[in-house]
C-alpha cells in the first residue's frame, strides 16, 4: 500500500500543475513537517497528563489554573521558556553547547521515519526498520555527552557518564528482546511485524504448517492478527516485560533516571541549559517516552489493529487505504500508545529511583540472560515449527509461576539491635 504522504504530494503536485516527479518529495517533506508538529503537540500534552496523573496518584491536583483543567499550562510554560534568556556559561564550549540539544532532539525525531502509524501512514517502510531504530535511538547518548562535556560542569559530566553506561548496557537487551517478535514474523520491517507477513515456515496461531495469514486471506476473512490473542504481548509476555523495562532504562524514565538524580547530581546533563535549549532537551526526553510507547505498540500490541478481526468493518468504511479505514486504524494506534504512556507515568508515580549498581545488575544479570534464552527458545520453536499457542502457554506459565513464587518470599527480618552494656567507669578494654 502506498504511503499516504506520497499520495498527498502527488495530489498537491497535480493541483498546482507541478512536474509529477516533485510529488513524492513534496509529500515526504509535508509528512516530516506534520509528524514534527504532531510530536510537539503530543509531547506538550503528555507533560500536562503526567502532571495531572501523578498529582492525582499522590493526592494532589496538578495544574488547575491556566485554562480549563490547566490545559493551557504547558503551552504557557513553552512560551515562557522561549522568552527566557539563553545563557551560555563563560567556560563552556559554545559550538558544542549549542549543538548538543539539536543532536538529542534530532535523534529522537529521526526514529519516526520508519514508524507506521497506520497501514498506509508511514514515511519510509525500511526493511531493516528495527535495526535502524536501535541504531538511531542510541545517538541520544552522543548528544548527552556532547552537551555535558561542553557545559564544563562536573555534575553534568558525571551524569553523562552514567547515561553512557546505562544506554550501552540497555541497548543490548532492548535489541535482543525485540528479536522475539522479529523471529516469529521473519521480518525487520515494522509494517510486516504488525501485519504478520506470511513467511514460509513460520507457524500460525491456529493452523500448523500453514501461516494464518495465508489461510485466512485465501478465505477472504481477515489479516494476520485475527484478534488480540495474536498480539506478541500474549505470545511472548516475558520478552514484552524485558523490552519495556529496557526501554524505560534506555530513555532514562523514572525508576531508572539516575542520569537526572536530583539528590546526587543536581539536574544531570542539563544543569547548565536554560531557555529554548533546555526546552529542546526536555522535549526530546518526552519524545523518547513516546517513542518507547510507539515501539512497544508496534512490536507487542498489534499496532493499529482492533481487538478482534475487523476486516468487515474496514470494508464498510471503504476498504483498506480509504480515509475512513485510515482514521479507524489511527484511532486504535493512538489509544494503545496513550495507554502505554499512561502506564509509564503510572510507574513514575509508583516506583522510587534505583541505585547505579542495582541498575547494572538488572541489565547485565537478568535482562540480557533472559532475552538471550528467549532468543534460543523462540528460534528453536520457529525452526521446529511449534504452534504459537504453546509458546504463549509456556511463557505465561513461566511468568505467573515466577511471580507466585516471588510473592511467597518471606520479608527480610530486621536484625535485633544488640543490647548495649552500660559503660563502666574507666573502661574494661585492655
Amino acid at each position: 500500500m502506498q504511503s499516504v504522504w506520497v499520495d498527498l504530494g502527488n495530489w498537491i503536485a497535480a493541483l498546482f500543475h507541478l512536474p509529477s516527479r516533485t510529488g513524492p518529495t513534496l509529500g515526504l517533506f509535508l509528512g516530516a513537517f506534520i509528524i514534527l508538529n504532531l510530536i510537539m503537540l503530543v509531547v506538550t500534552y503528555m507533560i500536562w497528563w503526567l502532571r495531572k496523573l501523578v498529582g492525582w496518584m499522590q493526592s494532589r491536583l496538578g495544574p488547575t489554573h491556566v485554562g480549563k483543567w490547566g490545559l493551557l499550562q504547558t503551552p504557557a510554560d513553552a512560551i515562557k521558556l522561549m522568552a527566557k534568556e539563553g545563557i551560555i556559561p563563560t567556560l563552556a564550549d559554545k559550538t558544542l553547547f549549542v549543538l548538543a540539544p539539536a543532536v538529542v532532539f534530532i535523534a529522537a525525531y529521526l526514529v519516526y521515519v520508519t514508524i507506521p502509524f497506520a497501514p498506509n501512514v508511514y514515511v519510509a517502510d525500511l526493511n531493516v526498520g528495527v535495526v535502524y531504530v536501535a541504531a538511531i535511538s542510541s545517538i541520544t547518548v552522543l548528544g548527552i555527552i556532547l552537551g555535558a562535556w561542553a557545559s564544563n560542569n562536573k555534575y553534568a559530566l558525571l551524569s553523562a557518564f552514567r547515561s553512557a553506561a546505562q544506554i550501552v548496557s540497555y541497548e543490548v537487551p532492548f535489541a535482543l528482546a525485540i528479536l522475539g517478535p522479529v523471529m516469529l514474523v521473519g521480518s525487520f520491517s515494522f509494517r510486516e511485524i504488525v501485519q504478520g507477513a506470511p513467511v514460509a515456515g513460520v507457524p500460525g496461531m491456529f493452523v500448523h504448517g500453514q501461516s494464518t495469514n495465508e489461510l485466512l486471506g485465501s478465505m477472504g476473512l481477515a489479516r494476520f492478527p485475527a484478534s488480540f490473542l495474536d498480539w506478541f504481548l500474549i505470545t511472548q509476555p516475558v520478552v514484552f516485560l524485558c523490552f519495556f523495562i529496557a526501554g524505560l532504562a534506555e530513555n532514562n524514565i523514572t525508576p531508572f533516571d539516575i542520569v537526572e538524580a536530583e539528590s546526587e547530581i543536581v539536574a544531570g546533563f542539563h544543569v547548565e541549559y536554560s531557555g529554548m535549549k533546555f526546552a529542546l532537551l526536555f522535549l526530546a526526553e518526552f519524545a523518547n517516552t513516546m517513542t518507547l510507547a510507539v515501539l512497544t505498540t508496534l512490536a507487542f500490541l498489534g499496532g493499529w489493529n482492533f481487538l478482534i478481526a475487523d476486516g468487515w468493518f474496514v470494508r464498510l468504511l471503504g476498504g483498506p487505504g480509504s480515509v475512513g479505514a485510515t482514521l479507524w486504524h489511527l484511532l486504535w494506534f493512538g489509544l494503545k500508545v496513550g495507554l502505554l504512556i499512561t502506564v509509564v507515568f503510572w510507574l513514575r508515580a509508583t516506583l522510587p529511583r534505583v541505585r547505579v549498581d542495582q541498575l547494572m545488575d538488572l541489565g547485565w544479570k537478568l535482562l540480557i540472560p533472559v532475552t538471550l534464552l528467549n532468543l534460543l527458545v523462540t528460534g528453536g520453536w520457529v525452526l521446529l515449527g511449534g504452534a504459537r499457542w504453546s509458546l504463549a502457554l509456556t511463557n505465561w506459565l513461566l511468568l505467573i509461576g515466577v511471580m507466585a513464587y516471588g510473592a511467597r518470599k518471606p520479608l527480610p527480618k530486621t536484625e535485633p539491635i544488640p543490647a548495649v552494656e552500660p559503660a563502666t567507669v574507666g573502661g574494661t578494654s585492655g
Binding site: 496518584m57 493526592s59 494532589r60 503510572w346 509508583t350 516506583l351 510473592a407
Partner: protein
C-alpha cells in the same frame, strides 16, 4: 546465589511492582476524597484551636506586669525589644496601659510572651495573613510595628473552631464547595 533464590527475587520484584501500582491506582480512583490540596487564595484554610498565627492582645485584661516585654528574646528592628509597652501611673497608684507594640519585622512567633502572660492578655491568633493586618506595611517597614488596636482586632485561634472541624476539613469530610462554605465551620469564621 542459587537459581531458585534468584528466580524468587525476580518474581518478588515483579509482584511488588504490581502491588505498588495497585496502591497508586487506588489513590487515583479515590483522588476526590484523598486530595489534600487547599487552593489557598480561593479557599480559606480552617485552622485548629492551637494555631500560632498573628498574636492577639486584649488590653482590658492587661495588668502591665511587663513580663512579656522581659521574656521576649528578640531585639526589635526599630524598638529596643520586639514587644514594647508604654504606661503611666494612674490616680489609684496602678499602672495604666497607654500603648502596646509588637514589631512584626523581628517577631519570631516563639510565643514565649503568650506562655508567660499571667492573665491571658496575649493569646494565640488564628490569622495567617499577616500582610493583611496593615496592607501598607509592604511599602513602609515602620508600619510593621503593630499597635494595640490592630492586635486587638485579630481573631483568636481558640475561636477558630474545634480540632474536629479542622480534622474534618483536612479529611474533606465536610462540603468544601466554595470559600464561604469552607471559611465558616460550626464555630465562628476563621478569618473575618
Amino acid at each position: 546465589m542459587s537459581l531458585a533464590r534468584m528466580l524468587q527475587d525476580v518474581g518478588y520484584g515483579l509482584w511488588s511492582t504490581f502491588k505498588g501500582m495497585g496502591i497508586t491506582l487506588r489513590n487515583l480512583v479515590k483522588f476526590r476524597e484523598r486530595v489534600q490540596t487547599v487552593k489557598y487564595p480561593l479557599e480559606e484554610i480552617v485552622v485548629p484551636p492551637g494555631y500560632r498565627g498573628a498574636l492577639v492582645f486584649r488590653p482590658e485584661r492587661c495588668i502591665v506586669c511587663e513580663l512579656c516585654e522581659k521574656v521576649c528574646p528578640v531585639p526589635g528592628t526599630r524598638t529596643e525589644k520586639t514587644i514594647e509597652m508604654f504606661f503611666h501611673i494612674g490616680p489609684s497608684k496602678k499602672r495604666e496601659l497607654d500603648e502596646f507594640y509588637i514589631d512584626y519585622a523581628s517577631c519570631i512567633n516563639c510565643y514565649l510572651c503568650v506562655e508567660i502572660c499571667p492573665v491571658d492578655a496575649l493569646l494565640p491568633g488564628a490569622s495567617y495573613e499577616l500582610s493583611q493586618i496593615d496592607p501598607l506595611a509592604q511599602y513602609d517597614r515602620s508600619r510593621m510595628i503593630f499597635g494595640m488596636q490592630q492586635l486587638a482586632a485579630q481573631p483568636e485561634s481558640a475561636e477558630a473552631g474545634t480540632y474536629e472541624t479542622a480534622y474534618r476539613y483536612v479529611r474533606r469530610e465536610q462540603p468544601a464547595a466554595g470559600a464561604e462554605a469552607v471559611g465558616e465551620p460550626e464555630g465562628e469564621p476563621a478569618n473575618p
